[in-house]
C-alpha cells in the first residue's frame, strides 16, 4: 500500500502571517484534491525566511491560537509547516510542526543555524537540541530543516534511531551560476538527497520554496527520492508547484533486505568513539550501553 504525499513548493510572504495561513489553506485544499495524505511545506512557510528583526515580532508558541487553522486542517490531511517558535524560556527557534488529527504531534527545532555567506540564522534564533523520530503518515520520520540536512550526522542519527523517512523542509537560495554550468546549489542538494536516500535506505522528501526575498531567489526543485536512489518526483525550478508522489513503505523493507546497511550499522561503536573523544564516556574499555 503506497501513501500519497504532496510537497507545497510555494512562495510565502515575508512577515505576513495571516496571508501565509490563508495561502496554506489554499495549498492544503489542492493537496486534498490530489488525494494526498500529507502535505509538506518549506522551512518557515508561515512567516517567510529572511525575517531579521521580524523574527521576534512574528513568533508564537507552538500552541498559539494563530496556528489553529493549520491544526484544524490536519483533521483532513496531515500538515507539516514551518513557523517561528517562541519557546517557554523565550528563546526563538526556526520550527517545523507536524499536525495530524487536529493537533500538533511533533515539533523539530532547527539545530544547525548557518551564519556564513548569505545566512545569519544564528543571530536571530536559538538552536534546537534534539533529533526525535516520530510517526508520520509515511512511517517513522525525522525532520531536518535545510542546513540540518547538510550535516551528515543528522540523517545518520535519524536512520540509526529508526527513521525510514527524512523530511527536509528548506529555504534554499539559488546561487552559483558561473563556472560554466547550472545552479551550484541545486546540484549539491540533489547529490545529498540521493546519497542519503540510497545509503541510509530511506525516503528523502526535500521541500524547497520559491520566490524572492531582498533580491535572493529560492530555487525550488523539491523532490522525493526513494531508498533505492530513484528520484520519484521532482518539481521545476523557480516556479510554484504542488508536487505529488507515492511513497511505498514496503520499498524500504525490500531495499533493506537487499542492502542491509542499517541493520549492520554499529551506532554503539560510533557512540563509544565519539564519547571518548568528547569526554562523555570516561572508561574507554567499557562498551556503551545498548538501548
Amino acid at each position: 500500500m503506497t501513501v500519497r504525499v504532496a510537497i507545497a513548493q510555494c512562495a510565502p510572504a515575508l512577515g505576513a502571517f495571516k496571508r501565509n495561513v490563508a495561502m496554506h489553506e489554499e495549498w492544503i485544499g489542492r493537496a486534498l484534491s490530489g488525494r494526498a495524505r500529507l502535505v509538506v511545506f518549506p522551512e518557515l512557510s508561515l512567516t517567510g525566511y529572511y525575517l531579521k528583526d521580524l523574527a521576534g515580532d512574528i513568533a508564537c508558541a507552538a500552541d498559539d491560537e494563530r496556528l489553529k487553522p493549520i491544526a484544524d486542517a490536519s483533521r483532513r490531511i496531515d500538515v507539516c509547516a514551518g513557523f517561528v517558535e517562541r519557546a517557554s524560556d523565550a528563546r526563538l527557534h526556526i520550527a517545523q510542526g507536524y499536525w495530524s488529527g487536529g493537533r500538533l504531534v511533533h515539533v523539530h527545532r532547527k539545530v544547525y543555524l548557518p551564519t556564513y555567506g548569505i545566512f545569519d540564522d544564528g543571530r536571530y534564533f536559538g538552536p534546537g537540541d534534539r533529533f526525535d523520530v516520530f510517526e508520520s503518515a509515511v512511517g517513522p520520520t525525522g525532520l531536518a530543516i535545510c542546513e540540518d540536512l547538510w550535516h551528515v550526522s543528522v540523517p545518520y542519527t535519524y536512520a540509526a534511531t529508526g527513521a525510514t523517512v527524512v523530511l527536509s523542509p528548506a529555504s534554499s537560495p539559488g546561487r552559483g551560476v558561473a563556472e560554466g554550468g547550472d545552479l551550484g546549489t541545486a546540484e549539491s542538494c540533489r547529490l545529498m538527497d540521493r546519497f542519503y536516500a540510497q545509503y541510509l535506505t530511506l525516503y528523502v522528501l526535500f521541500a524547497n520554496r520559491v520566490g524572492h526575498e531582498d533580491g535572493i531567489a529560492f530555487w525550488g526543485g523539491s523532490e522525493v527520492v526513494a531508498p533505492d536512489g530513484t528520484v520519484v518526483a521532482r518539481a521545476p525550478e523557480f516556479e510554484e508547484h504542488l508536487l505529488v508522489a507515492e511513497i511505498d513503505p514496503d520499498l524500504v523493507a525490500r531495499e533493506r533486505d537487499r542492502n542491509p546497511l542499517i541493520r549492520d550499522e554499529r551506532p554503539d561503536l560510533v557512540q563509544s568513539h565519539l564519547g571518548r573523544r568528547t569526554g562523555l564516556v570516561r572508561r574507554p574499555d567499557v562498551a556503551v550501553e545498548r538501548s
Partner: protein, 289 residues
C-alpha cells in the same frame, strides 16, 4: 561534468576565461523572476530605465520589456551636448528592437545652468554632475508608481567605476551580480543588436572616452582577476604566483578597497539604543499582513 568537478578543476590562469562562463538561459530566467517579484512586492507596476546606447542598459531594457511588457517600460535617452551621435542611434536601435517607446530629454540646459557659473571644471566632476542630473530625471519619471532600474554591472560596482547617486543609484539592479563580460555574453541571448554588443564600452562623459582607456586595463582582464579574488576568495599573492601581472592585480585589489564606501549605505553615528542600519534590521521586503 558536475559543478563540483568543474569548480575543483578551476585554477587561476590568466589565459583561461572559462570560469566566467554562465548558463545565460538560467540567468535570464532568474533575472526576469527577480524583476517581476521585487516590483510586485513593493506595489509597483512599471519601471524606468535610462538607455545610453551601451550594452548594459540595452540588456536591462530587454529584461524589463520581457518582464513587464514594453508598454510598462519608460525608456529615457538623456544626452548632453558632447554625447556621441552614435549613442543616440544605438539607443533608438535598442528601443526599436525591444518595442519600447524612447523619450529623449536633453540635459544640457540644466547641467550648463549650474556648471556655466563655475568656469573651468575637471571633466570627471562634470561627468559626475551629468550622471546625477540624469538620475534626478529618472526618479522624477518614475513617480508615482514606477521603480528605477540600475544598470551597473559587477565589474563597475567592485571597481567603484560609477557615480554615487548618479548612475549607481537605483531601486532594483538586475545585472549587478554579472561581470561585464558575462553581461555582454548574456546580452547576445537577449537579442541586443550586434553593433551594440561589440562596440567599445564608454560612459560617454567626454569625447573619445572609453572605459578601458580610462581604467588602464581591459574588462576581460579585470573580470578574471575579480572573479578569482571575490568569487573564489583567492589572495592577490596566489594570483601573482599563478602568473597574473602583479601590478594589475594590486591595482585592482586597491581599487576595490578604496571604493568600498561607494557600495554601502551611508554611515550613521550610533548614539541611541537602537539605530537604523546598525541594529534596527528589518528586511526591505517586509510585507503587510
Amino acid at each position: 561534468m558536475s559543478v563540483a568537478e568543474r569548480i575543483g578543476a578551476i585554477r587561476p590562469d590568466p589565459s583561461d576565461q572559462s570560469p566566467l562562463r554562465i548558463d545565460e538561459a538560467l540567468v535570464r530566467k532568474m533575472l526576469v523572476a527577480f524583476l517581476r517579484e521585487e516590483t510586485k512586492k513593493s506595489g509597483h507596476r512599471r519601471v524606468v530605465v535610462a538607455v545610453s546606447g551601451g550594452v548594459d542598459s540595452a540588456a536591462v531594457a530587454a529584461l524589463a520589456a520581457e518582464t513587464f511588457g514594453p508598454e510598462n517600460v519608460t525608456a529615457l535617452f538623456l544626452p548632453y551636448r558632447t554625447s556621441d551621435a552614435l549613442s543616440r542611434e544605438h539607443a533608438r536601435l535598442v528601443a526599436k528592437t525591444f518595442g519600447i517607446a524612447l523619450e529623449e530629454i536633453d540635459i544640457t540646459p540644466q547641467v550648463d545652468a549650474y556648471l556655466g557659473r563655475l568656469g573651468d571644471v575637471d571633466r570627471v566632476r562634470r561627468g559626475n554632475k551629468m550622471a546625477r542630473e540624469r538620475k534626478s530625471i529618472e526618479y522624477d519619471r518614475a513617480w508615482p508608481d514606477g521603480l528605477v532600474l540600475g544598470t551597473s554591472n559587477k565589474t563597475e560596482l567592485l571597481l567603484g567605476y560609477g557615480t554615487r547617486h548618479g548612475d549607481m543609484a537605483c531601486d532594483l539592479n538586475p545585472v549587478g551580480d554579472l561581470y561585464k563580460t558575462q553581461l555582454r555574453e548574456m546580452s547576445v541571448l537577449l537579442g541586443v543588436p550586434d553593433v551594440i554588443v561589440r562596440k567599445a564600452p564608454s560612459a560617454d562623459l567626454w569625447e573619445g572616452q572609453t572605459d578601458e582607456g580610462e581604467l588602464g586595463f581591459t574588462y576581460a582582464q579585470a573580470d578574471l582577476i575579480l572573479y578569482h579574488l571575490v568569487d573564489r576568495r583567492l589572495r592577490p599573492s596566489e594570483l601573482i604566483a599563478a602568473g597574473f601581472d602583479a601590478a594589475l592585480v594590486n591595482n585592482i585589489r586597491e581599487r576595490v578597497r578604496r571604493s568600498h564606501y561607494k557600495r554601502v549605505m551611508p554611515l550613521i553615528a550610533k548614539v541611541s539604543l537602537r539605530t537604523v542600519g546598525h541594529d534596527f534590521l528589518y528586511p526591505r521586503d517586509w510585507e503587510a499582513d
